[in-house]
């Protein structure tokens, strides 16, 4: 009774209720239960991330052990990045790759989703086949495209040659090498955007569509003024996922072009890989990676904000 009266008095006075001993105990037990999981999480994810940031402040070079904990020039790697032409180029290549792959995957994914938005057995079977590129291991995808892009063994090149229109090797052309990566990446990942948008399409309410049709809207008007606005949150989420994933592009570039010809297809994470594993400059590579992590967080935050706004508007 005394506790209840105390609770009532505190409620009345606007003072937060004091926790009972049972509640304190419950909270403590919960914390104890969570601690092992939190400790594992810290060791597995946070510790390497912290080590990455710490390493980025050193000139760590695997061949020079003394560089491991040398903090004499903590911003040296970051200043080098600002002066590094190849890093700047890699960011620009990354921007182009991300922009074109995300836009094309959204466009193609949306178009295919519209076509497959029907509930028939045939369409469902076709829908499944469209998912194949997405579930293949990335290295397999890269090898498939390596074959297609290599004139000596490519059926595409053989066919074009047979009909009198021989084509040069795309992956060694400075004009087309990046496009060869974009095409392969779009092929691999448009099923993902298709899947998300198809799910969103099937969740759309019928009323606005029927109302628009009754009002005499054409197919394109229905699509443009009704379907597309309703799909915007799903498009933004799909775009965000693909944008973040595009920054991790690696196997296609490693197998198809090695970042070349020259540095035409050298994206930022590939450049970080070269610095770390070909040259042993782990400190410099860590600085590149920290910048990439920061950029990815910023992009994610930006898009989540946009999506959040959209959802609120909706």
């Amino acid at each position: 009774m005394s506790t209840l009266s105390q609770y009532g008095a505190e409620q009345g006075s606007g003072v937060p209720p004091r926790q009972t001993r049972w509640q304190v105990q419950q909270r403590r037990d919960l914390l104890c239960g969570l601690m092992p999981a939190l400790a594992v999480l810290a060791v597995v994810t946070l510790a390497p991330a912290v080590y990455l940031v710490v390493t980025s402040f050193t000139p760590l070079n695997l061949t020079l052990p003394a560089t491991a904990w040398n903090f004499s020039d903590p911003v040296g790697n970051y200043l080098s990045l600002l002066r590094d032409r190849r890093f700047g180029n890699s960011v620009w290549v990354q921007f182009k790759l991300s922009f074109f792959t995300v836009v094309l995957q959204l466009l193609i994914g949306l178009a295919v989703a519209m076509l497959l938005n029907a509930r028939t057995r045939f369409v469902e079977a076709v829908r499944t086949t469209f998912l194949i590129p997405m579930v293949l291991p990335p290295i397999v995808v890269a090898i498939i495209w390596k074959v297609l892009y290599t004139p000596d063994i490519s059926p595409v090149h053989w066919f074009l040659k047979a009909i009198g229109h021989p084509m040069g090797a795309m992956i060694t052309s400075p004009d087309y090498a990046l496009w060869s990566i974009i095409i392969a990446d779009v092929w691999e990942w448009f099923p993902f955007t298709m899947l998300m948008l198809l799910a969103a399409l099937q969740m759309l309410p019928d009323e606005p569509l029927e109302a628009a049709r009754i009002d005499g809207a054409t197919y394109w008007q229905v699509f443009w003024f009704v379907i597309l606005p309703l799909l915007r949150p799903a498009i933004l989420v799909a775009g965000l996922f693909r944008l973040i994933d595009s920054i991790k592009a690696f196997p296609l570039i490693y197998i198809l072009t090695d970042g070349g010809p020259g540095t035409v297809t050298e994206v930022t994470n590939y450049y970080a890989f070269v610095q770390a594993f070909n040259f042993s400059y782990l400190g410099f590579s860590s600085a590149i990676t920290v910048v990439m992590v920061g950029a990815t967080f910023f992009l994610s935050w930006l898009v989540v904000r946009m999506v959040g706004t959209e959802v609120e508007v909706e």
């Binding site: 000139p59 070079n61 695997l62 061949t63 020079l64 052990p65 080098s80 002066r83 590094d84 032409r85 190849r86 892009y149 290599t150 004139p151 000596d152 040069g168 090797a169 992956i171 060694t172 052309s173 400075p174 198809l256 072009t257 090695d258 070349g260 010809p261 020259g262 540095t263 035409v264 070269v274 594993f277 070909n278 040259f279 042993s280 400059y281 410099f284």
Partner: protein, 475 residues
């Protein structure tokens, strides 16, 4: 025509397979009587085999010990792995030998060595990493093992390794940190010399002649005149040397890059011209295998890669041009002839806790007997021991369409040793500079930049990278 089976080509005086195996087995159990004659590259045998029982006894001192090692996938390492059980039986040791793909091996070994851990007791010393690994002190100095007669009997003959292939395994003082199992030389492989003859020309001996031959024979009978692969820092540097340039100012002492020298610019333009005009479509993405396949399938004629890579062009099972392929000395540039030499070896990581046992294994793996056995039984074509290279049986087996490749190899090994021009390749920072060369050549070949601008950019980037590694650069 090549004699495919070295064993069959041996004359009566040489070591037959059965006799050789018998001797090896006998040495293992200590049952060989002193005075057994063993002709062939192992020498007159008496000294070696007279001591065999004692050595076999000494080898048993490591019985029960397990050693771990790793190499990259290669015909040598595959054969070695097959032979390992015999070594285990002989010594009572257990040997875990891991084989990995070349790039995977190098990256793993690089990380493992950098920790100075004891995970591996012997490792492959990869050619282009040798400077970095040995320079950083990651491989044990083998001199103390070599000089100790208890660990290394004189008949093992540490001097019987060709000088050129030994270079990457020596430190600045000349101490040895590894011994080569592969010695490869860069030769000119002409898959279809008849096309050149039909054009009324001879095999090119100078750069001028090479360009004339390429211009005259390109696309004749659907064959591209030249083929190469994407590792330009290997395929281009002999041209750089030929024009009088170098990768560094004076390696290994002065590692100031010299990629923007007039000779380097000239060599880049020269090589890019070949890539643009005389090679198959897409050559910039070619791997070694694609290059060799283009020659073996009759789609491309001339290449300048190592013999160990281009040998399949002479294999009737794999090649349409096996009956006519010619392996010859590469052409000389205005400043001379500088064919490349490469080698891979075995060494002991500094962190190993079983160094003596590891040395016992390396000694066995690279002994005259094991190498000669690989040559006889498995057609191994790239040994580094002159006693094998000079042996008549080996020379017979290495004669292709009338050309003796053993002689060619020895000559190039000698040129590289005397000329010292391969020192650029085994310095610790070569991977960084090699990357700049690859990029620059691609940029010039695809006309993204003229040669001068591309090489100046490569030079600037190389300097920036080397400064990161603490290398002193000349002003």
């Amino acid at each position: 025509m090549r004699k495919r089976n070295l064993t069959k080509s041996a004359d009566d005086r040489s070591v037959s397979r059965r006799k050789f195996l018998g001797l090896t087995a006998a040495a293992g159990v200590g049952a060989v009587a002193a005075g057994v004659e063993a002709a062939g590259p192992v020498g007159k045998g008496s000294a070696l085999f007279a001591q065999a029982p004692a050595r076999a006894g000494a080898a048993r001192q490591f019985a029960g010990i397990t050693i771990n090692g790793a190499m990259f996938q290669h015909s040598f390492s595959a054969i070695l792995k097959e032979y390992v059980p015999e070594f285990e039986q002989k010594t009572g040791m257990k040997v875990n030998l891991e084989l990995q793909a070349f790039p995977v091996y190098n990256q793993r070994a690089d990380l493992e060595l950098s920790t100075k851990g004891s995970g591996y007791d012997f490792l492959n010393v990869t050619f282009i990493y040798s400077g970095r690994w040995i320079g950083a002190g990651w491989f044990a100095n083998l001199e103390e093992f070599i000089k100790d007669p208890k660990l290394t009997p004189p008949e093992w003959d540490a001097a019987d390794f060709a000088g050129g292939p030994m270079v990457p395994f020596k430190d600045a003082k000349g101490d040895r940190h590894g011994f080569p199992w592969l010695g490869e030389v860069q030769a000119m492989t002409v898959a279809q010399p008849d096309l050149i003859e039909k054009a009324g020309m001879k095999l090119p001996e100078t750069y001028d002649e090479l360009m004339k031959v390429l211009a005259a024979t390109n696309d004749k009978e659907g064959v591209k005149a030249y083929v190469t692969h994407k590792t330009h820092h290997w395929m281009w540097v002999h041209f750089l040397h030929g024009f009088g340039g170098n990768v560094f100012k004076d390696p290994p002492g002065n590692l100031t890059p010299t990629l923007d020298s007039p000779a380097a610019i000239q060599a880049a333009e020269f090589y890019a011209n070949i890539l643009r005009n005389y090679c198959p479509e897409g050559v910039l993405s070619y791997t070694d295998d694609q290059m060799v396949a283009a020659q073996a399938q009759g789609r491309a004629n001339i290449s300048m890669h190592t013999l160990s890579w281009t040998m399949p062009v002479a294999d009737p099972k794999k090649s349409k041009v096996a009956d006519k392929v010619a392996y010859v000395m590469p052409p000389a540039g205005p400043k001379g002839l500088f064919p490349g030499v490469g080698s891979h070896g075995l060494g002991i990581p500094i962190g190993s806790r079983k160094k003596e046992a590891a040395w016992e294994f390396i000694r066995w793996a690279l002994s005259k007997e094991t190498i000669w056995r690989m040559v006889k039984e498995r057609d191994y074509t790239s040994p580094c021991r002159p006693s094998v290279l000079n042996h008549p049986d080996f020379k017979k087996g290495m004669t292709f369409n009338g050309r003796d490749l053993a002689v060619l190899s020895l000559k190039i090994f000698e040129m590289a040793e005397k000329g010292g021009y391969m020192k650029y390749r085994t310095v610790p920072v070569f991977p960084q500079v090699g990357d700049k060369i690859n990029k620059a050549i691609e940029v010039v070949a695809t006309k993204q930049m003229p040669a001068e601008a591309a090489m100046k950019q490569a030079q600037a980037e190389a300097i920036a990278d080397l400064k990161k590694a603490g290398i002193k650069i000349d002003a």
